[in-house]
């Protein structure tokens, strides 16, 4: 019986020591991956941590954000919340601006000319056929007005419209193709923006480069285009 009582007090003691840790729920404004170092120890990646009450040194880092260093005082409670706002890395902001600028250059020098040329090339055959038919109608309409006293219809305006479309299509194709070909080398030599940041805890490099195909940043992969 005394042995059983001894074991009971032992486990009770263990339970009491577990209750000494405070459940801390971190609300950290950063990216989805949060790295927390408490008193020099890297904590598991979770926003809920059990920390002993008292004063602690805390370091928080998230990709594309600056390393946050501060002290945290954990009260002796069951659970507390702690809010930390990480500051965006200046280099990442520069990268975002560079990415937008790169996007604009790619659009102006490659995408837009190709779209223009493509739209023109699609328009030309349709406008060509319609133009021929409407021109034939116009000639016949003129003839009937002159010889059959027929009233003039809208043949002239319809022909003018389609005629304009036809030449706009040709112009768009020529201009689009010319601009695309002229700027092709320039586009090839455009430097794509890259953002590299080192994880201060693991010393791994975090790299963002720009995928021009799906037009989105990608992590850790570098494509030449």
């Amino acid at each position: 019986m005394p042995r059983i009582l001894l074991l009971f007090f032992f486990f009770l003691q263990l339970g009491l020591s577990a209750q000494d840790l405070t459940k801390v729920r971190f609300y950290i404004k950063g990216s989805t991956d949060i790295f927390i170092k408490l008193d020099g120890e890297l904590l598991p990646m979770s926003n809920i941590q059990r920390i002993a009450p008292g004063e602690h040194k805390i370091e928080v880092w998230s990709p594309t954000y600056n390393l946050h260093k501060s002290s945290i005082n954990i009260p002796n409670k069951d659970s507390v919340g702690h809010f930390i706002e990480l500051k965006q890395d200046r280099a990442y902001i520069d990268y975002m601006f560079a990415k937008d600028e790169f996007n604009q250059k790619i659009f102006v020098r490659r995408t837009a000319p190709l779209l223009l040329a493509g739209a023109g090339a699609i328009l030309i055959p349709f406008a060509y056929v319609m133009r021929k038919n409407l021109h034939e109608e116009l000639i016949l309409e003129d003839f009937k007005v002159e010889y059959f006293n027929a009233s003039r219809g809208s043949g002239q305006s319809r022909y003018n419209t389609v005629n304009a479309l036809f030449f706009v299509g040709i112009g768009a194709t020529i201009v689009g193709t010319s601009v695309f070909l002229a700027l092709r080398e320039n586009v090839k030599h455009l430097a794509k923006p890259v953002y590299i940041q080192q994880n201060p805890f693991t010393l791994d490099d975090f790299k963002l480069s720009y995928n021009s195909i799906n037009r989105s940043p990608e992590i850790g992969v570098k494509l030449s285009f």
Binding site: L114, A117, G118, A121, I124, P125, Y128, R131, K132, N133, H135, E136, L138, I139, L140, F143, K144, E146, Y147, F148, T173, T177, F180, L181, R184
Partner: protein, 218 residues
Amino acid sequence: MKMTKHLFILSLITSLILSSCERKPDACLDFGDALEAGTTIRIESCSDNYEFLTWEFNDGRGQVGDYVERQFDKEGSYSVLLTAYSDGAYRSDEVSQDFKASFRYIDRFEIIGESGFPSMEVRVEEEYTSSGGDDGRWTVAGSDGTFTADAPFQVLVWPDLFRVMPTSRTLQLYGRQGLSRTFLGEQKFNFQSVKDNPVTLESEDGKLQMKMYWRYKY
């Protein structure tokens, strides 16, 4: 690079479509220099490589089509401008032709074969005359003998103007001796459709053959 190739091929195809060479139309008219007035006539074209034709006459009338059916009510000089269009009427070719429209007039009658009559009488009669009509009757002496194709017996009508009306007419041939008149043969022709020149009439006994030649005024 692949995109550029596709674009280049697309441009090439478009250029080929655009430059697809439809042949130039060839406007052609060949209906002679005289047409019959007073009846509906059909003018054909010998044009080629066209999509449609327009016909413009100098009397202010125009038509669209492969051929023209019209009537010239007045005799005189006319001209027609034929335009052949192709390639959405972007290509065209014109040809103009001057012609004269005239009624048909009887030029002469020629009779070949053996005849025992000193004179011959030729009649052109309307089948049904409601207002007297314009029947013709010509009697010419000197028809006794044998006449060949090279030396026929002739009854000249021109330059008297006697129209071959585009209606049904009966040609009749009589032999005359003194005051007596012998019927030799007759045949009905519908000159609306009969355009033969000459038209031929056989006598009932088969001994004589009469040909009626017609002509235009011009």
